[in-house]
Point group: C2
Chain length 430, copies 2
């Protein structure tokens, strides 16, 4: 990162700047605000876009889909119509889809859990028998991914993100280690940077030849149709790419309707090769009869098809766009001229990821908290919560109204400036 504007100032200039920013910050703090930019939670208007979901299935006579009475037991892998819907969205085949409950995170956890207790399709033994399991973690990344692999005792290896996706030279070197068993990926609008993996990155990932025969490429396509600025951006079918590369059973793709319909009551999918499905469903058949099929049919009736889903996402975009504009605008005006941080300008997803100059993130967030702004904790986007540069801050603008966001960003910018000035002046926080 370039030097920042403060670094060019002399002691006197710095002291003046500090006094001004301190005054501004104190005035904001005295407002005793309580604002939340901590998590990627849709706002109330977004929830109301799916009001039709609540009335999509009200007559018992409508509870039949492809001859299946969805209210009764059975059909472990979900109803065909739900598989069809997700297959159309993801570009894969319906028989490559397993339909889960409201949380794709649970499906991912279960995959890792089964790898440890039973092994995956090509495992020689369950992973719990191994000395060590290593896992590749593109950083910054999704805190909940890292918590899963941490919970199972994996050694997590940071892989820096580039504007094209994870650093593939490093990935290709690391997978030569047979103890490296998997990798987290958020290929579109990565959490938190909002980066879209380039076609070349996707192909290099699909073509990997990991030393571990049971390497799991976990492809969390959480934001696959989640543009808030501009038209839908097509993405490759990773299942097909891996199949074409002779790696049919290496990849497990996940998605959900959490940010399409309702976060607390959506449906999810795990897409994988038919051989993986056969293997995993044999294990999952011990665990459940099926996920909620009434809610699957409710979603099919409400969402209909990909075209209709994309139209719904454009309506979500109307609420998200001004919020992101507010955050990006504040950063552009207040922070860019000073060179205190850098950030991507995503056109989809749920986050803005700010990379401050080294050593400023924790102090900035402490100052935000003191002034009533809740943010994702510093380091959250790194395995075990350790950001080696103390630099990354994830901003989640979806929930607060724009007016509150503007206030929160005012506090955020003042906090970041104050943190930078404190550091240069050697002022220790009390």
């Amino acid at each position: 990162m370039e030097n920042n504007a403060y670094q060019a100032m002399n002691e006197r200039g710095l002291r003046d700047a500090y006094a001004a920013v301190r005054g501004q910050y104190d005035a904001l703090r005295e407002k005793n605000l309580s604002l939340d930019m901590s998590r990627g939670k849709p706002g109330l208007e977004q929830l109301n876009l799916s009001a039709g979901l609540l009335t999509a299935l009200t007559d018992p006579a409508d509870c039949v889909s492809d001859g299946i009475e969805v209210r009764n037991y059975g059909f472990l892998s979900g109803i065909p119509a739900a598989k069809q819907l997700f297959a159309e969205i993801l570009g894969c085949r319906p028989d490559e889809c397993f339909i889960g409950g409201s949380s794709s995170l649970t499906l991912m956890y279960d995959l890792v859990s089964k790898a440890f207790t039973h092994g995956l399709l090509h495992s020689k033994q369950p992973w719990c028998r191994l000395e060590k399991v290593k896992w590749l973690c593109p950083v910054p990344g999704y805190d909940r991914h890292f918590r899963i692999t941490q919970s199972f005792g994996c050694e997590m290896i940071n892989v820096p993100m580039t504007p094209e996706g994870p650093d593939m030279d490093l990935v290709e070197a690391l997978i030569r280690d047979p103890e490296v068993k998997g990798m987290w990926c958020v290929p579109k609008y990565s959490n938190p940077d909002g980066i879209i993996y380039s076609e070349s990155t996707c192909k290099r990932l699909a073509r990997m030849k990991p030393a571990a025969e049971d390497f799991a490429l976990v492809w969390d396509n959480a934001y696959c149709v989640h543009e808030f600025d501009g038209p839908f951006v097509p993405f490759p079918d990773i299942i097909g790419l891996c199949r074409d590369a002779g790696n049919a059973d290496m990849v497990y793709e996940f998605a959900s309707t959490s940010k399409i319909t309702l976060p607390g009551a959506g449906i999810s999918v795990m897409a994988a090769s038919v051989d993986n499905q056969t293997y995993l469903q044999r294990l999952m058949g011990v665990q459940m009869i099926s996920e909620d099929k009434v809610n699957q049919l409710r979603h099919v009736r409400f969402l209909k098809n990909k075209e209709n889903v994309l139209a719904l996402m454009q309506r979500h975009a109307e609420f998200l766009r001004p919020r992101f504009a507010c955050v990006l605008g504040a950063l552009e005006t207040e922070i860019a001229p000073l060179g205190l941080a850098s950030w991507q300008r995503p056109k989809g997803g749920y986050f803005v990821s700010v990379n401050t100059q080294p050593g400023l993130a924790r102090r900035t967030l402490a100052l935000c908290k003191e002034a009533g702004v809740a943010m994702t904790p510093a380091g959250a986007a790194f395995p075990r919560g350790i950001d080696p540069n103390d630099s990354n801050i994830r901003i989640a603008p979806s929930l607060p109204p724009v007016q509150e966001l503007a206030q929160a960003m005012e506090i955020f910018c003042a906090s970041l400036k104050l943190a930078a000035l404190e550091k240069l002046l050697g002022i220790k926080p009390v």
Copy 2:
């Protein structure tokens, strides 16, 4: 078991009886029927009793419960109103409840899975590190329970059922082995016998002092309000019984609305001590944000309270009672006089469990199948599908209309008689 009537016959009498039964069976087989008494699936009329569930929550403005917007993320352990409802039904405390998705089986699987990957509250280490894990299995029992412990490689130990519940003298002896880590129980209308554990059995179970400090008493209260004949039969709160006996953390109770509302779209509960909840929810917080809270609120609005649930169960009973009467009537008329089998006469639950004279179950079911009647496979009610006496047959009468059931029972009774006669006459099935 007493001698059967055929055993008192001479060769000639047996041959005559065989010819008569064979003729009857062949005539039935020629009807080419296709009848299903294989699983405890509610019938369509029962599903329609919960039509109101589909319209219980149709207005976005109603999606708030105790100040919680149920459509959005959060509240891992479920909404307070759902905890309140299950606590009232089970007689435990709301903060002892974790609300799950449509399947309590999934909650049970997850408990066992977490014991293996992370250990339970009082475990010294995860069970996957142990040489051997043994599990007590009252038999006959629920096939899906046994499949879970089989899937995790447990050594399953059969414990015979008595009319009071599992043989407690044997249980108390077996738990002195520190490798015995848990036990499956269906305390009310046990699957498949329909036996209610006596108060004394419940208390002895609650007072157990297993050698394993992390012994798990899995209390699957699947049929807690499922009377089909007569009024609701109260049951003890096992969580409280265990707490009173100084075993607060030993028990995990499960229940669901699968056979109250909709099997494919209900809600479930895991009740356990607050310390167990704290421990397990810390692990489950890695796995999910929450289960479907909209469906939780839908159930709360539709079911309201225990009184209303019991009234709904009486309406289920109207459909189940004649079906069980048909099955029990056929057994009473056709089989009892011959002494070929014995059975309980349950007033609740979903099954009639027939114990034939030794060595007749498999052949009887093969004959049923040949004549177009699908039944639960022989041995299913035993760990690894092995019925040491080849005696137990589970009849599930809930799904077929009474007229079909009558035909199926005609075939069943003829098949059992034929199997008994073949055996006495030394006739080998072709």
